[in-house]
Every structure is written in structure tokens, then in C-alpha cells.
């Protein structure tokens, strides 16, 4: 080979390489906006929060390192444990009925004989589209402490019960907020379940009918097991959502939101530390503890839902 052709091949290879590089760079540029924004408003605050958890800082004065003292303060604070308890109770009250009712509603919506299907679908989904703040404000009027509030009117006149101080009693507050969460989210879960039910092939039901299975057996042995991925999804999102409950109780309680403890959730506790008490260190420590709690619940959830799906399938095989 003479030198010219040699040069040509080198040149070619070089060109090829730079072509590859070009692709690479343009690729990175395409994804850059996300990463830049994520770094600025997602990653950086998260890392800074971890750093803050070990500092004492009021937002304006210089920070001082204080080791694990923030965690100690939070973990020994009865109000923190009260907020954990509140979060879990309202999580159970607000989401568990939601999932069961959502499943039933989805099943009913899918019934062949139901008329005005799209009307019901839209109606059930509607609450999810409303503004959270507006909902909380309206609920705070319906469930006011006053004896003549609508909720108390119903209680006293239709059920003959005593009126409840909906914003100042241990269970009244929790129930009112849970009803609000339930009302707003049940439609969302229903639609997910409905999509799931419609994806189940019809031949399964036909085969079951031939084998003589009634509607209930079909529900428990076909519909629910086949819905497993959808159930996992909704349980997962509901749990994480319940752990982060904040706006609903805050708007519902208004002025009392950060002074009363009946409905103080973990995130409200965190917010109170940071923006009412100017204690960003303990607030960050709370955030990290919340991260741990959510992780534990997520793993627990995963194990639970996996187990339940397998069992049912095993049952169906017999």
C-alpha cells in the first residue's frame, strides 16, 4: 500500500470516530435539560437536606454542626410519634376503603347490563379533577366545629348522635380528613381497576362459566388475581401518597393546622419545624426519617402484595 491510501484509511477511521463522538455529544445535549433541571431542583436540595440534617440552622445565621442531636430531638419528641401515628391512621382510614370500594365500583362499571356507563365513569372520576384547596375549604365548612354544620346536622337529625367538634377532637378530625381523601381519590383508583378489568381476556370467564363457576367465584378466582399488577400499583401509590399527606389537613384546619396535634402528619411536622420554628436542621432530620419510613412501608407492601397474588393463583390451580 502506498502512503496515500494509508492516509485515506486513517482519515476515514478518524472521521468515523468523530462521527460517533458527534452522535454522543448530541445525545447528551438532548438529555441535558432534564439532568440540569433535576440537578438544580431535585438532586441538589436532596443532598443539601442530608447535609442540613447534621447542622443547627435558622435560615439566616451561620450553621453549626451538631452531629446526631437533630435526630435525637426528633425521635424523642412525643409530637413526632404522634404525627407518625396520625399519618398511619389517616393512611389506613383514607386509603384502605378506597381500594376496596374502587375495586367494587370498577366491577360494577364493567357489568354488561349497566346503562349510562360513560356518565358513571365521568362522575366517579370527577372529584379527582377538582382543585385540592377548593375541596379542603368546602370540607372545612361542611365539617366545621359548629353544631349547625352540615355534618353535625346529619349526625344529630338522621342518626340521633351528638354533634362532633370536627376540627378539635381526636377522631373527628381524622375521620373528616380521611373522608376527604377518600372522596377525592376513589375515582382515580376505580379507573385504574376498570382499565385492568377490561384487559382480562373474556375467554377466561367463558371457560369458567362452562365449568359452572358463579359470579363471585369468577370475581375471586379470575378478576382479582388477574388484577394483581394493578392492585400493586394502586397500593403502592396510595401508600406513598398517604405518607406524604399534607395539603388536605393543612387547608382543612386552616389557622390551627400547626398548633393542634390531632391531624398533624409527618410532613406537617416537618414543615412546622422548617417554616414555623426556623429549625431547618431538625426538619431535614425528619425528612430523612420519613424517607426511611416510606422505604420500609414500600418493601412491606411489595412483600404483602406478592404473597397475596401467589396464594390466590395457587388456589385457582387446585
Amino acid at each position: 500500500m502506498n502512503s496515500i491510501s494509508k492516509k485515506a484509511t486513517i482519515f476515514k477511521r478518524k472521521k468515523y470516530r468523530s462521527e460517533e463522538k458527534k452522535d454522543m455529544i448530541s445525545g447528551y445535549l438532548y438529555i441535558a435539560p432534564f439532568f440540569i433541571i433535576f440537578t438544580l431542583i431535585g438532586l441538589y436540595p436532596a443532598l443539601f437536606s442530608i447535609f442540613l440534617a447534621f447542622q443547627k440552622w435558622n435560615g439566616l445565621s451561620p450553621m453549626t454542626f451538631n452531629g446526631l442531636a437533630n435526630f435525637q430531638t426528633v425521635l424523642t419528641d412525643p409530637l413526632f410519634w404522634k404525627s407518625v401515628y396520625n399519618t398511619i391512621i389517616m393512611g389506613i382510614l383514607g386509603t384502605a376503603p378506597q381500594l376496596v370500594v374502587g375495586l367494587v365500583l370498577a366491577y360494577l362499571l364493567n357489568m354488561a347490563f349497566l346503562k349510562f356507563k360513560s356518565f358513571f365513569r365521568v362522575t366517579i372520576f370527577m372529584p379527582y379533577l377538582t382543585s385540592m384547596v377548593a375541596v379542603a375549604l368546602i370540607f372545612s365548612v361542611l365539617f366545621s366545629n359548629h353544631e349547625s354544620s352540615l355534618a353535625n346536622f346529619v349526625l344529630t337529625n338522621f342518626f340521633g348522635l351528638d354533634p362532633i367538634a370536627w376540627k378539635a377532637s381526636e377522631w373527628g378530625t381524622k375521620i373528616a380528613i380521611s373522608i376527604m381523601v377518600f372522596w377525592r381519590w376513589v375515582g382515580y383508583n376505580t379507573i385504574i381497576y376498570l382499565a385492568g378489568i377490561q384487559s382480562i381476556p373474556n375467554d377466561l370467564y367463558e371457560a369458567a362459566t362452562v365449568d359452572g363457576a358463579n359470579k363471585f367465584q369468577q370475581l375471586f378466582y379470575i378478576t382479582i388475581p388477574m388484577l394483581k399488577p394493578f392492585i400493586i400499583l394502586t397500593v403502592f401509590t396510595s401508600t406513598v401518597g398517604a405518607m406524604q399527606l399534607f395539603s388536605e389537613p393543612t387547608v382543612f384546619l386552616g389557622r390551627d393546622a400547626f398548633t393542634r396535634d390531632e391531624a398533624m402528619t409527618i410532613v406537617m411536622y416537618l414543615y412546622r419545624d422548617a417554616f414555623r420554628l426556623q429549625s431547618f436542621g431538625t426538619a431535614s432530620a425528619t425528612a430523612i426519617i420519613l424517607l426511611v419510613i416510606i422505604t420500609v412501608f414500600a418493601v412491606f407492601n411489595l412483600k404483602l402484595t406478592q404473597g397475596f397474588g401467589r396464594k390466590k393463583r395457587g388456589g385457582a390451580d387446585e
Binding site: K22, I36, L60, L79, H146, R255, D273, L277
Partner: protein, 431 residues
């Protein structure tokens, strides 16, 4: 290719340059008097609530053609949170900011982020303002001035003339003030109202508590940020008084600002409110049925106090400190305080306004033609001072208030509730 690389480098470096520019840029032009120069200056001015400062700013712009003032008004809590965040981040703060007196101590810890108004000429106007109001705008040493005084909230006794009459009490403001001239007389009048009309005297336990609290020389904390809640502290005295009034059955359950409270003000479901000057404006707008039924009298000196009011400060981030100061000095001058009072009810903190005829003769139709301004002016001059509140004033206030509400609503033991509240307050302080 090369151009691509160039572009990437250019992009990254310009990003860096931008962020660096955002970090620096704190150089000031404190060279000459801005009034004399033709340089265009734009001042950002953050306010809260209804102040009417927008109109006054326009007036100022007309007189000083090189100055533009952008007024941004928001809700009280949002305003202070936004300002706090901006100051904490070190960027984004306005040239001029209004500060509410109860939020003030939260910002005083950051003296390095504000201009010392004494350096900009504030010493010359010091004598125009009520001494106690001015002092609260300083740091504890008294050599640094955070803000110039705007309005104040002197407290007075708002009372329902119809209920007072029914109870056999005088209804003329002068006579009421002479009769109810001590906490003991206040209590007696309350019992009389309760007995004759069956209605509570004071609207809520918070107001009963604030009777002594607002007037006290010390609040929850000492200037070293230690709890000041011993058995003989002034707060405990206020607490005991509230419990006492509650035991006598003359305290209602109308929590201020709640819809039930608004109704009660309108319909006369309680007889007396220890309210500040600004409550007048609220009543006029929100209690139409009560027109002509409320009057205002001075409180016993033991209860003479200030509730609310603001200052205007200049954050250090500004590039036009002198221009900003000149504007606020003009804005809170006695003449303009009178205008703010007439248009938006901001009660003046400059005492010379109290002698102006437009101020004194301002009869209030809502109060049956009573000229209420002189009553508040008298109250303003009775005030001894404002105690040190500290940055955690409100959280601690809420804890004590919770204790009182438990006493009132659940019949809890006041001493136990007090101890528990003090413990929670200590915990808040440790954060």
C-alpha cells in the same frame, strides 16, 4: 463536529457565567445623592395587606421623575416567608420591604442582611415618632435601625352599647373609661353583663389572656432567648387572669376570625372586645348589622398595649440604598401617615398627626358618630413599650393558648396544662 463542540463549551461556560453573575453583583453606588442625578432607578417594594402605598408611590414618582417604584403586595404570611427565603438565599430580596412587628424578631437575627438606617439619615426624623415604636425598630444595643415606623395598633375597649345599657352600665365612652379603670373593675363589669344579659363579656379566652399579655413588659423569652415563664412571670399572671375570668363564666368561645366570631360581632353575642385600632376597619366592612352599636373607650392602664403595626426596612441586597431610604422617609412622614390613615385606616405612629384637625375630627359613622381616633391616640401614648419577643414568639404563644383552650373546652386543670405547655415551649426552644 467542531462547531458542535464549540456550542457545548459555549453553552456550559455561559451557564457558569450566569450563575457566577447571580452570586456576585452586590456592588453599590453609594456615591452621590440619587435625587440630584438623572440616573433611572427602579425600586422593588414588597408590602402586605391593604396599605394604599401604591398610590403614594405614584405620587412620589411624579415628584422624582428618575425613580420608578414597583409595589408588590401579598398576604401577610406569604410576604414574610418569601422575604425570609430571599434573605436566606442571599438573592431575590427587594430594595424595600415591609415587616410586621410580630415577625420582626425573626429577621433581626440577620442584622448583616439589612441596611442600618442610621447610616442613611434616620437620626434626623427620630423625634417625629412615638418613642416605644421607634425603639422596637432598633437592635438591642440601640445602634442599628432596621426599619422606619409605619402604623401601630393601640388597643382600646370596643363595647356594645346595647348590651352595656341592658346590663345597667354607662354607654358614654368617657363614663365607661372612668368606670372600668382597673382589671378589677373590668371583671366586675363583666359579671354585671353576664348576670343581666346572659352573654359573655369577652369574646374568647385568647383575648382574656392578651389583656395582660400584650401590656406586659416581658413576653415569653428573655433577650438571651431563655424561657421567661416562672411562677411570678408576667405571662403567668396573664394566664391566671384568663383562667380566672373563665372560671367566672364571662369568657365566650368565639375564636377571633372564625365565622362564628364574625357572626357574634355582627349580632352582639358578646359585649366587649379588647381590639387594636385596625379592628375598626374590619368591623366597618364585615359587621354591617352592628353599625351604631359599638363604641370605643380607653382601657385601664394595666391593659394599655400595642397589637400589630409595621416597619419598612431596606435589605442589604439593594443597589440603591440611599434612594430607597429617601423614599421610605417620605412615605412615613407625618403628612403621608395622615393620608394612609384616612384612606386605609393605618394608625399613625408619628405623634404630631394626633394634633392635626383632620385626624381629630374624623367622626366614625359606624360608631354612631363617635370620633374614635383620639381614643386610640390616647391609648398609643399610654403604651410603655414593646417587650422582646424573639423569633419563636408565635409557636410558644400557640402552646400557651392550647393550654388555655384545653382549660376552657375540656375543663382541664390549669396548673397541669401550664406545666405541660412550658415543657413544650422549652422543647421548641431547643430546636
Amino acid at each position: 463536529m467542531k462547531s458542535m463542540k464549540k456550542m457545548a463549551i459555549f453553552g456550559i461556560s455561559s451557564l457558569l457565567a450566569l450563575s457566577l453573575a447571580a452570586c456576585s453583583g452586590n456592588n453599590k453606588d453609594a456615591t452621590s445623592d440619587p435625587k440630584d442625578s438623572d440616573e433611572e432607578i427602579t425600586l422593588d417594594f414588597w408590602t402586605f395587606g391593604a396599605t394604599g402605598y401604591e398610590e403614594l408611590a405614584k405620587e412620589y414618582e411624579k415628584e422624582n421623575t428618575n425613580i420608578k417604584i414597583k409595589v408588590k403586595s401579598s398576604e401577610t404570611a406569604d410576604h414574610h416567608d418569601a422575604l425570609f427565603t430571599a434573605l436566606s438565599a442571599g438573592s431575590g430580596a427587594p430594595d424595600i420591604a415591609m415587616l410586621e412587628i410580630d415577625q420582626f424578631d425573626r429577621f433581626k437575627v440577620a442584622q448583616d442582611r439589612f441596611e442600618n438606617l442610621y447610616d442613611l439619615g434616620a437620626n434626623d426624623v427620630k423625634d417625629q415618632y412615638l418613642d416605644w415604636k421607634w425603639k422596637s425598630g432598633e437592635n438591642t444595643e440601640g445602634d442599628f435601625l432596621f426599619g422606619l415606623p409605619t402604623d401601630i395598633g393601640p388597643k382600646a375597649l370596643y363595647y356594645r352599647t346595647d348590651l352595656f345599657e341592658e346590663a345597667g352600665l354607662p354607654t358614654d365612652p368617657e363614663e365607661v373609661a372612668t368606670l372600668i379603670n382597673s382589671p378589677e373593675e373590668f371583671e366586675k363589669a363583666g359579671l354585671q353583663v353576664k348576670e343581666k344579659t346572659g352573654k359573655p363579656f369577652v369574646d374568647s379566652i385568647e383575648m382574656a389572656f392578651r389583656a395582660y399579655l400584650d401590656a406586659a413588659g416581658t413576653a415569653y423569652l428573655t433577650p438571651d432567648n431563655e424561657l421567661n415563664l416562672g411562677a411570678d412571670s408576667e405571662v403567668k399572671k396573664a394566664y391566671d387572669y384568663a383562667v380566672r375570668l373563665n372560671d367566672l363564666g364571662i369568657v365566650g368561645k368565639f375564636e377571633m376570625w372564625s365565622p362564628e366570631w364574625a357572626n357574634a360581632v355582627n349580632n352582639g353575642e358578646f359585649a366587649a372586645e379588647l381590639g387594636a385600632g385596625w379592628l375598626k376597619g374590619w368591623m366597618e366592612g364585615n359587621a354591617p348589622d352592628a353599625a351604631g352599636k359599638w363604641n370605643v373607650a380607653t382601657l385601664p392602664t394595666e391593659f394599655a398595649a400595642n397589637w400589630g403595626g409595621s416597619y419598612i426596612a431596606v435589605p442589604k441586597e439593594t443597589k440603591h440604598a440611599q434612594a430607597a431610604y429617601d423614599f421610605i422617609e417620605w412615605l412615613v412622614s407625618p403628612e403621608n401617615q395622615l393620608k394612609s390613615f384616612q384612606s386605609h385606616g393605618l394608625f399613625p405612629s408619628a405623634q404630631s398627626v394626633y394634633d392635626m384637625d383632620e385626624f381629630k375630627s374624623n367622626a366614625d359613622e359606624f360608631f354612631g358618630g363617635q370620633a374614635t381616633a383620639p381614643v386610640f391616640a390616647e391609648a398609643a401614648q399610654d403604651i410603655a413599650g414593646i417587650p422582646y419577643k424573639g423569633e419563636k414568639y408565635f409557636p410558644i404563644h400557640n402552646e400557651i393558648l392550647n393550654a388555655l383552650k384545653n382549660v376552657q373546652n375540656e375543663g382541664a386543670d390549669p396548673e397541669k396544662e401550664w406545666e405541660a405547655a412550658v415543657k413544650r415551649a422549652q422543647d421548641l426552644l431547643n430546636r
